[in-house]
């Protein structure tokens, strides 16, 4: 039994007087010892400071009021009370401003949804955006879109905040001085019009213009270069083709720092042509991930999670689930989902992949160099499993791996018969972007570029360091930079143009499989921004608006009679029918692949790996406060990146968390603070890109450490032979990891599939379910709708989408790095991440934790003003206007899910930042407690709607909470538990269902389905 029962046994167990308890871990609960779970190294090693920390729910609360400021504070308070008294005497006059004329489809007070699409890394995701009276406020996935299927990622959710970012570029700037689109148009007409000539500076007088226009080389576009991010817009491509045809001397270069260079080169190597693999995780029984965080940041779409989690839903012991093997250096959320995870340096992956190929009989024995016998055993078991499930298995490779490894994976998939089953191929026009970028840098340095037009992107910050784009741009006579925010590149440009946000302008965008969505705006540009297509149109001398560009392009694609109808349907559905690419057969060339593999250098010395940031992606969302404050899924760091090391590597170098180290490779050095990551590969450092922005808005400037200076064109992802040096300085990192520990009780329950089949009741056993009796008269919850939630830990990936969705839906403030360090983060839903096993190589689980809506809520009985009380539908209501801020409720909450507004976090918000607020939810002020409400505004809205339609019953699935709606894993299910046929009631009937801390008789309405791992008996 004890090996089945996996309990959270956090340090400092339940005994009273635990402040003096020095033991390293106590297994509590009802069983002697299960897996030992722990949340952080500090917690595990029991610093006394940590114990102190734990005992104070909101540490250091009084720190802001030292004696000096306390007196000032009292004075201010007296003054403000006086003023409050005065204002109360006269009633404020409030105006009602109706429309002058009615707006089609708009009913004031009711939200409207529009289909649109957002691109990230050249891949579009279809979205539905909610607008309140013309103001977009919330983003959801588009159920009709093949790469959303109703889900949206944290980046999509947070993109609404970037729309209202007051730090966006607000006007056209010419050499830093205010200018206008008209002036730019005049400049463009002279610079790119006919006849034209490349000019070092725009002439200031008519005479100068006339002189300049005399040159015979004007019409060719010689010396004109365009630099953009990956273009995935058909209408922009058409426009580009026209401009390049008109100016044949011009060139267009695409660059993204997180591009798929190696994957594309790998496909080219394997198949001799550029193919894109599309993975069908829902068909795979066994998946091997080689350094691929395909459930996380290595996948620009959420559907990998959708498909994968489909195979993790186990309703009964007769059900099967897939099995995931992950070999990786850094601990990713994909690694946390793994049934078997192997920590290995990124530069060691090629050898591992070869060993897989050797066991499968593809590669000759002589090639393999995997000397570690434990690893060989692991690989042998994995390879056998792959083979056993041939046709139903899948090998995926991450973007950090060299092209040859990608090619090898294609070969293995082909040999196993997976191609066409679990992986299919489409042709792609994409090519590796780096060669063209290198050529551009060389041309600039040779003085061949007169005008550089940058349409999005930030190359002076994120291009490979050896190309030194910051210096190169200075050499270009005229640089035009289109961007949403002031950035490191725009700062160097002569012309700085405000770019329209995707919710402000028309466009179109291809998803990974080629499916096109029309990008529909929801609001006029707030800061006169224009799209790249519009700027290009200006340059082409057409000056057309985005709507015309996109509409004309698409109307021309359809037969005349049906075109208008097809256009309207595409807008409505958010998908242009019939645009998905055709699948093509693919046959890899094994010999070529082996030859390329032979050339790969072996792993040697210390390596440095780069990976995308869960907050800033490649740096572009650095000024997004929601993303900055969202804890990294694994490290739980906020507002920072860090150099992640394994405990052993840190120990050997004498490093601890927060020590600043200098990382050097190839003669370049950057500094970053250390964060010890359990389960990280030894002799390896992982550090997130996209931090340490210098020129960006006020939110992101200075957050984190920039490691792009280490990244060169020769080694974009992994640096070999690196070194690290302790600088002796330390740096303060803010983490949410150690907040709200669960004190050694069985919070997360988990078993292997095998154990579950033997004992399906394993999860519900340790409840104890002691009947403590009722202190108050029993309330009957058997009538009407009774809201409840079930969260399947088996399909929760820990991707943060729910955290961001909740933040957007419920007007949750950001508090800043310093406040997070004090334990004052405000997220209503948090993702607890626990480790179990040895700290060198633990397993990890994540658990979403929000208000459990206890039927016997401990918070309610201690509120002196009845600001929190129960609703007849089982909700733990919170009336903000009644709350006086005693914080008794938070103190009495065993789940630690209540959040207190220590400061007025919404104070001083500039226009238009306030426009992001959801009008259906109160914006809380200082001194008020808040917490998850099961999105009560959505419940009430649907109830009201139902009543207006003359029915009382709410259909199952009619109400979706914000977290549920966006969850790509479909792990969160909300509904009426009184309806035995509702999905939530069905889930709660499952044997894996358990409540957290039910021994306290809290009777939580949120319950969890225990996690299962499909362990391979050979490796168990």
């Amino acid at each position: 039994m004890s090996d089945i029962l996996h309990q959270i046994t956090l340090p400092g167990a339940a005994a009273p007087g635990r402040a003096t308890a020095p033991e390293i871990s106590v297994s509590a609960g009802h069983e002697p010892a299960g897996k030992e779970y722990w949340r952080s190294l500090t917690g595990r090693t029991q610093g006394t400071g940590f114990q102190d920390w734990l005992r104070r729910e909101f540490p250091e609360a009084a720190e802001l009021l030292d004696s000096g400021s306390r007196r000032t504070m009292l004075k201010l308070m007296a003054a403000s009370f006086g003023l409050a008294g005065l204002t109360a005497c006269s009633r404020p006059v409030e105006k009602i401003l109706p429309n002058s004329k009615g707006v089609e489809d708009q009913v004031p007070g009711n939200a409207l949804f529009y289909a649109t699409a957002m691109s990230l890394g050249g891949a579009a995701t279809g979205l539905l955006v909610e607008a309140h009276d013309g103001r977009p406020t919330k983003i959801e996935g588009n159920p009709e879109h093949p790469f959303s299927r109703g889900a949206a990622s944290a980046f999509h959710q947070a993109s609404i905040l970037s729309l209202y970012d007051p730090d966006r570029t607000r006007r056209v700037l010419y050499n830093g001085a205010a200018s206008s689109w008209d002036e730019f148009a005049a400049f463009a007409a002279k610079q790119f019009g006919e006849p034209r000539r490349g000019l070092s500076t725009p002439p200031r007088s008519e005479a100068e213009w006339a002189r300049a226009a005399l040159s015979p080389s004007a019409v060719t576009g010689e010396g004109l270069r365009f630099l953009s991010q990956t273009v995935n817009s058909p209408s922009l491509e058409a426009m580009r083709a026209r401009v390049l045809a008109k100016l044949p001397g011009a060139k267009w270069i695409e660059y993204e720092p997180l591009s798929e260079n190696e994957a594309l080169a790998g496909a080219e190597l394997a198949f001799g042509k550029a193919l894109r693999p599309l993975y069908r995780f829902d068909r795979a029984d066994v998946v091997l991930s080689l350094d691929a965080d395909f459930l996380g940041l290595d996948s620009p779409s959420v559907t990998a999670i959708k498909d994968f989690s489909k195979r993790r839903r186990v309703a009964s012991s007769a059900d099967t689930m897939n099995r995931l093997y992950v070999a990786e250096s850094q601990y990713s959320i994909t690694g946390a989902m793994a049934d078997h995870r192997l920590r290995i340096k990124s530069t060691g992956i090629p050898a591992l992949a070869l060993e897989v190929a050797r066991v499968l009989g593809l590669a000759p024995a002589g090639l393999t160099v995997l000397e570690n016998s434990a690893r060989r055993k692991w690989v042998a078991a994995v390879a056998r499993d792959l083979k056993k499930n041939a046709g139903r298995s899948l090998v995926v490779v991450g973007p950090r791996q060299p092209a040859a490894v990608h090619a090898l994976a294609h070969w293995i998939n082909h040999a196993l018969g997976n191609a066409g089953a679990t992986v299919v191929y489409i042709e792609t026009p994409r090519r590796p972007q780096l060669p063209a970028l290198k050529e551009l840098a060389a041309e600039i340095n040779a003085g061949k570029v007169e005008t550089l037009v940058i349409l999005g992107g930030n190359p002076s910050y994120d291009a490979p360091a050896d190309l030194d784009f910051a210096a190169a741009i200075r050499k270009v006579p005229v640089t035009v930079c289109l961007g949403q925010e002031p950035n490191e590149t725009a700062a160097l440009a002569e012309w700085q143009l405000p770019e329209a946000h995707y919710l402000e302008t028309w466009g179109d965008a291809r998803a990974l499989d080629g499916t096109v969505s029309i990008q529909q705006p929801l609001i006029q540009p707030l800061f006169a921004g224009r799209s790249a297509a519009e700027v290009l149109s200006l340059i082409a001398g057409e000056n057309r608006r985005a709507y015309d560009i996109v509409r004309e392009y698409w109307l021309a694609q359809w037969p005349g009679a049906t075109a208008e109808k097809a256009w309207r349907k595409s807008l409505h559905d958010g998908v242009v029918a019939g645009t998905a690419a055709k699948l093509v057969p693919a046959a890899p060339d094994g010999k070529r692949i082996l030859a390329a593999l032979e050339k790969l250098p072996p792993a040697a010395g210390l390596e440095i790996n780069f990976y995308p940031s869960a907050s800033t992606w490649d740096g572009r969302s650095a000024n997004n406060g929601w993303l900055q404050e969202a804890p990294d899924p694994m490290t739980k760091l906020t507002w920072d990146n860090a150099a992640l090391l394994s405990p052993a590597t840190a120990r050997n170098a004498g490093l601890k968390n927060g020590d600043v180290i200098a990382l050097s490779a190839g003669g370049r050095t950057v500094e970053a603070p250390v964060w010890i990551q359990p389960g990280h590969a030894d002799d390896s450092v992982s550090v997130a890109l996209g931090w340490g922005r210098t020129t960006c808005g006020r939110v992101g400037a200075g957050a984190g450490h920039n490691v792009y200076p280490l990244r060169t064109a020769a080694a974009l992802w992994s640096l070999r032979g690196a070194s690290l040096r302790k600088t002796g300085r330390t740096y303060k990192l803010s983490t949410t990891q150690e907040h709200h520990s669960m004190e050694g009780r069985p919070i997360v329950r988990e078993a292997s599939l095998e154990e579950y089949r033997r004992d399906p009741d394993f999860a519900s056993k340790p409840d104890g379910n002691r009947d403590l009796g009722q202190l108050f008269p029993e309330f009957s919850y058997d009538k009407g709708s009774q809201w409840g939630m079930a969260i399947d830990l088996n399909s929760c990936i820990g991707c943060n989408a729910c955290v961001l969705a909740c933040q957007a839906e419920n007007n949750i403030p950001i508090v800043g790095k310093d406040q997070v360090a004090r334990g004052r983060e405000m997220h209503w839903i948090r993702l607890d991440r626990y480790y179990n096993g040895p700290e060198e190589d633990p397993q990890a689980v994540t658990q979403p934790m929000a208000c459990q809506q206890c039927e016997n809520a401990p918070c309610e009985s201690v509120c002196p003003v009845a600001a929190t009380s129960h609703s007849p539908e089982g909700l733990n209501d919170m009336a903000y206007n009644r709350c006086v801020g005693t914080r008794y409720c938070a103190n009495n909450c065993p789940y630690k899910v209540r959040r207190f507004n220590f400061l007025d976090y919404h104070k001083g918000l500039e226009e238009p930042a306030k426009m992001v607020f959801n009008p259906d939810v109160t914006v809380r002020m200082r001194g008020v407690m808040e917490k998850c409400t099961y999105c009560v505004q959505r419940i009430e809205e649907k109830k009201t709607q139902a009543r207006a339609e003359g029915r009382r019953a709410i259909r199952d699935g009619e109400i979706l909470t914000a977290c549920q709606q966006t969850c790509p894993g479909e792990a969160i299910v909300f509904g009426n538990i009184n309806d035995p046929n509702s999905r939530v009631a069905q889930l709660k009937k499952q044997k894996r269902n358990y409540g957290v801390l039910t021994e306290l008789n809290t009777r939580p309405r949120t319950t969890y389905l225990a996690k299962l791992r499909n362990a391979n008996p050979e490796l168990a």
Binding site: L97, P98, D877, M878, Y880, T922, V936, Q937, A948
Partner: protein
């Protein structure tokens, strides 16, 4: 023992003290009376940019409330009509009335007429017109006899206690749904009896918990 304060001084202090106390008490009582929520808000009758008469339009001419407040059954808000709605008639009726100039200006310029809100709830209250109409609560229950007002005035206190009174016992205010905008309608017999009948028939049970109104 010689007392520090003489008898006469003592008396003066007593009188002065009592007077101050009485005055303070009177001040508090008066202030409380004046600003007691039930009174503080009722009677509010601001001057509107256009002296629109509900008495004329809704009362004498008998235009249904929903002609102008068109979203009241489908949205939480009842909307003040767009200038366009006014112009439906006033493009032909009273086309040169100077009183209607702001409406014509709004229609021509696209800028809104700045009406002054009369019935105001705090920001943390989420009131739904749609829900109340669906239950059969008439306009008159909260707004009074608007059809008799030349200028709109707040006649009900709109306080939480007042709301709860009805939420706890809605029967006197429930009528058939199709009659909610008939402000002069009175049921035959006991209104509460009819209300109780409708409550049972339509399964009406207004919320009295916090999240019913506060989110």
């Amino acid at each position: 023992m010689h007392s520090i304060i003489s008898k006469s001084t003592d008396r003066k202090i007593r009188i002065a003290g009592s007077a101050i106390l009485l005055l303070a008490l009177a001040a508090v009582t008066l202030t409380a009376y004046r600003f007691y929520p039930d009174r503080a808000e009722t009677g509010y009758q601001p001057v509107q940019p256009v002296p629109y008469s509900h008495k004329l339009h809704a009362g004498d001419l008998g235009i249904d409330c929903r002609y102008c407040h068109s979203t009241v059954e489908v949205s939480n808000v009842a909307v003040v009509p767009a200038a366009e709605t006014c112009m439906n008639c006033h493009a032909r009726v009273k086309t040169d009335s100077p009183l209607l100039q702001p409406v014509r200006d709004s229609y021509a310029s696209g800028r809104p007429v700045e009406w002054v809100r009369v019935h105001r709830l705090p920001d943390y209250v989420y009131f739904s017109h749609r829900a109340h109409l669906a239950a059969g609560v008439s306009c008159v229950s909260c707004h009074g006899r608007i059809d008799q007002m030349a200028e709109v005035k707040q006649v009900k206190p709109l306080t939480m206690a007042w709301c709860l009174e009805c939420h706890r016992d809605p029967a006197p205010n429930i009528r058939p749904r199709e009659l909610v905008t008939k402000l002069d309608w009175k049921p035959e017999g006991d209104p509460a009896a009819l209300g109780r009948e409708l409550i049972a028939k339509n399964d009406i049970h207004p919320p009295t918990n916090c999240s019913g109104c506060h989110r």
